[in-house]
Amino acid sequence: MAEMTFGEAVRDALAEAMRDDATVWTLGEDLTEIHLVGGNYAYEGLIEEFGSLRVVNTPISESTIMGAAVGAAVAGTRPVCDMRTVDFALCAMDELVNQAAKIRYMFGGQARVPMVARMPIGARRGAAAQHCGSYEAWFVSVPGLVVVAPVTPADGKALLKSAIRCDDPVVFLEHKELFLDRGDVPDGDVTVPLGKGRKVREGSDLTIVAWSKMVLIAEEACDVLAAEGVTVDLIDLRTLWPWDREMVFDSARKTKRVLVPQEAVQVGGFAAEIAMSVSEAVGSDLLGPPRRLGAPRIPVPYSPPLEDEYRVTPADVVDAAHALLRASTPRGRLSADRPE
């Protein structure tokens, strides 16, 4: 076990995968010592160790970064392309959606596309409208893609290794505000299975389902709720497609209340998919309909007070939890309802 940042953990995952398998390589813009997105150290040591043939610093050519990864995957390697931010990756949506995701299917299983597309997501202070996107709802709706969004350094490392070993294309979403977060990371070749969630907290009054940085925000909300006597089953999905239905449905049956907060714009969000799936699967066991929570439908603004309007905060999650609890609890039976 060693304490390290998220950025260091995913760098180690990539380095270990490249040591284990000579067909693993990585490509992207600015894959130099001074990589500005991945906490400044995302590629430290990799160029010296593996050389420029396997750590490829590319032109600013997003279509070809993604497209070359697809072609190289089809031709027997396991590329890990770093799109720098999900917003830049939008220039390569065609190569992701029309090529990576469909080649196995439309060629009748003749070819596989074992690649990872890393796309840093989320709002970072002052980064404004074109560097703060969260588009996981788009990716989960594309057949053929696996979508991963870890929050802890340990899961970042373990899931990147699992993603690299996956024989299908994986969209790997790393929140930009997580890269410098520290945490304990187990030593050795530890992986986490794709599609399995993580129970962050055990509780009995409410289930909160979150992913990526929203897990940390939800944890803050859980602290507030705990002080009020409300205990929360907090689930970190870790993989968004396929998501851990069993863990979510089991928890929903237990707590009978489900809240799904997300950082992305609420409209058409992945939270709505989870909430609806919960309704369909275990709705009759619940005390009330599941609730979702997301950002207002605005581009991410620049000025701090404006940006704060976009962000879903711990207080927002607490408010949504209160609303859910009030709507699903007979009056007077909830500690939060009682006068101070």
């Binding site: 070809t64 089809v74 003749q110 299908d168 794709l194």
Partner: protein
């Protein structure tokens, strides 16, 4: 199909005549495939749009006759000729067009998504220019794995106006990749005259701007295409980096087979029928003393094989509907 070693040794004479006769058979296979599959469209047996390469056969055959089975090609919506020339089975391809069991993609892809990885046909793309980045990646994989492999991307003239084409040219040059780009210039971008929407001097000039050597050739002259492609392929295989072949040809049929060609001048198509490559190849063979009997024998073989392809495709069953859920992804696929 077989390569053309005879042409390398002697540009004329009996040895090359035999090789060109083999090429004629492949061109005739493509011609029959394109024309007969349109008949199947009219019968309702082929679903969706069909993009015929009638009149462009010499480009596919002239290029692919220089490639080895381990070399890879990337193609576009008008791909049947490239696939056949690279060695894909026309019977399996016809079954694919019919959407039947035994098709190259099991009926999942259809005409626009023919692939046969067993012969290095890495897939046809319905999204123009996407094949260039994919071919670039396949070439990069060959370098990483230390494989002796040339990757060839067939693109049309219309594709030279899309961004990924330029990204791919730049990238292939910067990383000195074993890539041959063949711009099969049939004059039309869908139903638009390409020159009416294209600035500058065309594909070869654009490649040269990236310091990528390019050769322009009469794409309806099989022997000329073969010779040009041979030199370029040898340069690529020798580690010289990417090359571009600009082959000037003509799309005799419409963008899709039901296209009534209302955008063409009267007589334009007829004029180009007089320049089509199969008749020119036959003239060339006759000039070397090859008999009409020999020529008709190989053409007849091609017609017979495509007739068999139609019959077998017609007789093949449709896939089980449950197969719609296969090969989406290992986890999270299926009906979930």
């Amino acid at each position: 199909m077989a390569s053309l070693p005879g042409l390398a040794a002697a540009e004329t004479g009996a040895a090359s005549a035999a090789v060109v006769l083999g090429c004629l058979e492949t061109m005739q296979l493509i011609r029959e495939f394109e024309e007969r599959s349109h008949e199947a469209v009219l019968e309702g047996l082929v679903h969706g749009s069909l993009h015929q390469s009638t009149g462009q056969e010499a480009v596919a055959v002239g290029v692919c006759s220089n490639l080895r089975p381990s070399d890879m090609i990337q193609s576009n919506h008008r791909n049947h000729g490239h696939a056949i020339a690279k060695g894909a089975d026309p019977i399996a391809m016809m079954k694919e067009l019919f959407g039947r069991v035994g098709g190259t993609s099991g009926g999942k892809g259809g005409s626009m998504h023919i692939a046969d990885f067993s012969v290095g046909m890495m897939g046809a793309n319905g999204i123009l220019a996407d094949g260039v980045p994919l071919a670039v990646g396949a070439a990069q994989a060959a370098v990483i794995k230390g494989e002796d492999r040339v990757v060839c991307a067939f693109v049309g003239d219309g594709t030279t106006n899309r961004g990924p084409f330029y990204e791919g040219l730049n990238w292939a040059k910067v990383f000195n990749l074993p890539l041959l780009i063949v711009c099969e210039d049939n004059g039309y971008a869908s139903t638009t005259l390409t020159r009416s929407v294209t600035a500058g001097g065309g594909a070869a000039v654009r490649a040269e701007a990236f310091d990528i050597p390019a050769v322009t050739v009469d794409g309806n002259d099989l022997v000329a295409v073969h010779k040009a492609a041979r030199e370029l392929t040898e340069s690529v295989r020798g580690g010289g980096g990417p090359r571009l072949l600009h082959a000037l040809t003509y799309r005799i049929r419409g963008h899709v087979s039901r296209d009534m060609l209302a955008y063409r001048a009267a007589g334009e198509t007829d004029e180009h029928w007089r320049r089509e490559p199969i008749a020119r190849c036959i003239q060339w063979l006759r000039g070397l003393g090859v008999s009409d009997e020999e020529i008709e024998e190989v053409r007849g073989r091609a017609r017979t094989l495509i007739s068999r392809a139609i019959d077998e495709a017609r007789a093949a069953p449709f896939p089980d509907p449950g197969l719609a859920y296969a090969d989406v992804q290992d986890i999270g696929g299926g009906r979930g």
